[in-house]
């Protein structure tokens, strides 16, 4: 059996869809499935062009949901639609809204959900790959029951690849009213940042607890600037309040796959490694020669970030 029919949650972003949504549509197409995208928001026509370009034939569009947090209503509408159609699986981006939708839908359909998926295999049935222990091992799983499997996929698990200039056929869908009292978005705050976005940067310089204090993070920012990259962080220093969550790389933060990743004072907890081990080249600076980060580094310096980073910054400034 091959995969014949997959649905993908295409999360709106700007006038199009998020990059993870594009990755999932591309992979669904590669698996040979007919692809239906499900989306919402005020820009149905441009979303249809986006999902069509990456390989969806059909777009089920819920229209503008206004200021409602989308989880409940998108899940309720999907539950209604899935009464009449039976795709093998619904692929859902592992974003905040995606995880809200997956949890709601799982309980509505009384169906299990597989999360933290980083790979799909179309064998006798659809199988999912889940990295564990920081990516040292991969668990391969499949759904036992019939009915659509709910699969939550991590960002950057697949390559987004536009395949055609086709526009997906739009089917307008009336949102199913959710019985649950709504959560309303009252205001949106965007943090200002300069330089490339962390998840898109070709160079990422990250700092961890080895920096010693919040002020030392400035060295990480400076090095990132000199290399035209973005600064990142381990969970430890985000939890400590040194840097905002938007900088966090790892299991509970962003997944990055830059050409170069420089880890400064990061020991390499499994939580962190799972978010950056796909980087092309990894450089690590850490005092502890046994730090796990060295096991996946192409070049490691056993040393104190407080001496190595200033010297590195000075050397690069001479060249710029």
């Amino acid at each position: 059996m091959s995969v014949s029919n997959l649905w993908v949650i295409a999360e709106p972003s700007g006038t199009g869809i998020t990059s993870t949504s594009k990755e999932l549509i591309s992979e669904a197409r590669r698996l040979g499935a007919s692809v239906t995208a499900v989306s919402w928001g005020p820009h149905a026509a441009s979303v249809a062009a986006d999902v069509g370009a990456y390989g969806a034939q059909r777009l089920l569009h819920l229209g503008d949901l206004g200021a409602v947090l989308p989880g409940s209503v998108v899940a309720a509408t999907l539950a209604t639609l899935l009464n009449n159609e039976s795709p093998e699986a619904v692929l859902i981006p592992a974003s905040n809204d995606g995880r809200d939708i997956a949890g709601r839908l799982s309980a509505m359909l009384d169906a299990p959900v597989l999360t933290n998926v980083t790979g799909l295999r179309a064998g006798a049935s659809l199988e999912t790959e889940h990295p564990i222990f920081g990516g040292r091992q991969t668990v391969v799983a499949r759904f036992r029951a019939n009915g659509p499997g709910l699969i939550v996929v991590r960002a950057k698990s697949f390559v987004a690849e536009a395949s055609s200039d086709g526009v997906a056929h739009i089917e307008d869908v009336s949102p199913t009213p959710s019985s649950t009292r709504a959560a309303m978005i009252r205001a949106t705050h965007v943090e200002e940042h300069s330089g490339p976005a962390l998840e898109d940067a070709s160079v990422v310089v990250s700092g961890g607890r080895g920096l010693g204090d919040a002020a030392s993070y400035e060295m990480v920012q400076e090095l990132a600037r000199l290399l035209h990259g973005a600064p990142g962080a381990s969970r430890a220093i985000v939890d400590a309040g040194w840097v905002p969550y938007s900088h966090q790389v790892g299991q509970t933060g962003k997944t990055v796959k830059p050409d170069l990743y420089i880890a400064c004072g990061i020991s390499g907890a499994t939580q962190h490694m799972v978010g950056m081990k796909g980087s092309s080249v990894i450089v690590a600076i850490n005092k502890d020669p046994d730090a796990p980060i060295f096991s996946i580094s192409d070049f490691g310096v056993v040393g104190d970030v407080h001496t190595v980073l200033p010297a590195l910054i000075a050397a690069l400034k001479l060249r710029s």
Binding site: L69, G71, S95, N96, A102, G103, R104, S106, A107, A111, P112, V113, L114, T115, N116, I132, G135, R136, Q137, T138, V139, V140, A141, F143, T180, R181, A183, M184, R186, T188, H189, V190, L227, V238, D239, A240, Y245, T252, D259, L260, A269, K277, V281, V283, I285, P289, S295, I296, S297, D298, F299, V301, V302, T307, V308, A311, L312, A314, A315, R319
Partner: protein, 260 residues
């Protein structure tokens, strides 16, 4: 205002981890309170203190042979705990766990349920929203701050590039991220008080749950060793560390060759 915090005892994430013969996380060693849950306990205590009335209680599922981890949350200031422990629940998936916790929490009917966004052992991260759906409550997820204004909960919800201010009427499930508050240390008085606070251990039968409906519905097909890159050169810094890195960056053409 009564608040229930969902907590979990997990194998120490800092210790080596392995899978057992059934491909489940080996939980046979000592279990500790998931650090991610201490943030929810702290937020709950602060909200009840701000209200000036109500109490914080705990609900958990898992082996109850040793409840030291649960007691450490009681020592922070929670008044009592319910632990659902049943051999039939071994290997339960997230939805099953949500059903069990929903049944346990329904006996309390709190105004607010707090959870971590995800546990530090399984990282599934779907349970709180499944729980909200089973109770037909709103869920405010990924909160970095939580306030209660009258009968409305307002949170700052993390987004990719900042945060949204999101509100819903009580009762509500809220998931909090780590780092949202500084969890208090248990005082000696708290630790002593926790010893006598009730930890009520119940089984599936006590919750009148249908066991057939708890059968997990996914299989693990295989566990494979992932292809990992081997470690590259490791240089012990003797003052030349920075220069070595620059040379390496030149070699991979991230920076252009010498300034001279």
């Amino acid at each position: 205002m009564n608040v229930v915090v969902c907590v979990k005892q997990i194998p120490d994430p800092a210790a080596p981890q392995s899978l057992d013969s059934e491909h489940r996380l080996d939980r046979s060693g000592k279990l500790i309170l998931d650090e991610a849950d201490t943030y929810g306990v702290e937020v709950a205590l602060q909200l009840v203190e701000a209200r000036g009335e109500g109490e914080v209680s705990l609900v958990s599922m898992g082996d109850a042979t040793d409840v030291t981890g649960i007691r450490s949350a009681l020592a922070m200031g929670a008044l009592r705990a319910t632990v659902v422990s049943d051999p039939l629940l071994r290997g339960a998936d997230a939805l099953t766990t949500a059903k069990v916790l929903a049944a346990a929490i329904s006996r309390e009917m709190p105004d607010l349920i707090l959870c971590a966004t995800e546990s530090s052992d399984g990282y599934t991260g779907t349970l709180p929203v499944q729980l909200a759906q089973l109770l037909d409550w709103p869920a405010l997820t990924f909160a970095t701050s939580v306030v209660v204004e009258g009968d409305t909960v307002v949170v700052h919800r993390q987004t990719e590039d900042g945060f949204d201010e999101v509100g819903a009427q009580l009762p509500v499930v809220v998931t909090v991220t780590a780092g949202v508050v500084e969890p208090r240390y248990a005082t000696f008085k708290g630790i002593m008080a926790a010893k006598s606070r009730p930890v009520n251990v119940v089984g599936i039968a006590d919750l009148a749950l249908d066991i057939a409906a708890l059968d997990p519905r996914q299989d693990i097909v295989a566990v494979e060793t992932a292809a990992t890159k081997s470690a590259g050169e490791k240089y012990v810094d003797d003052g030349e560390g920075a220069a070595r890195i620059v040379a390496f960056l030149e070699q991979i053409k991230i920076v252009s060759g010498g300034a001279s």
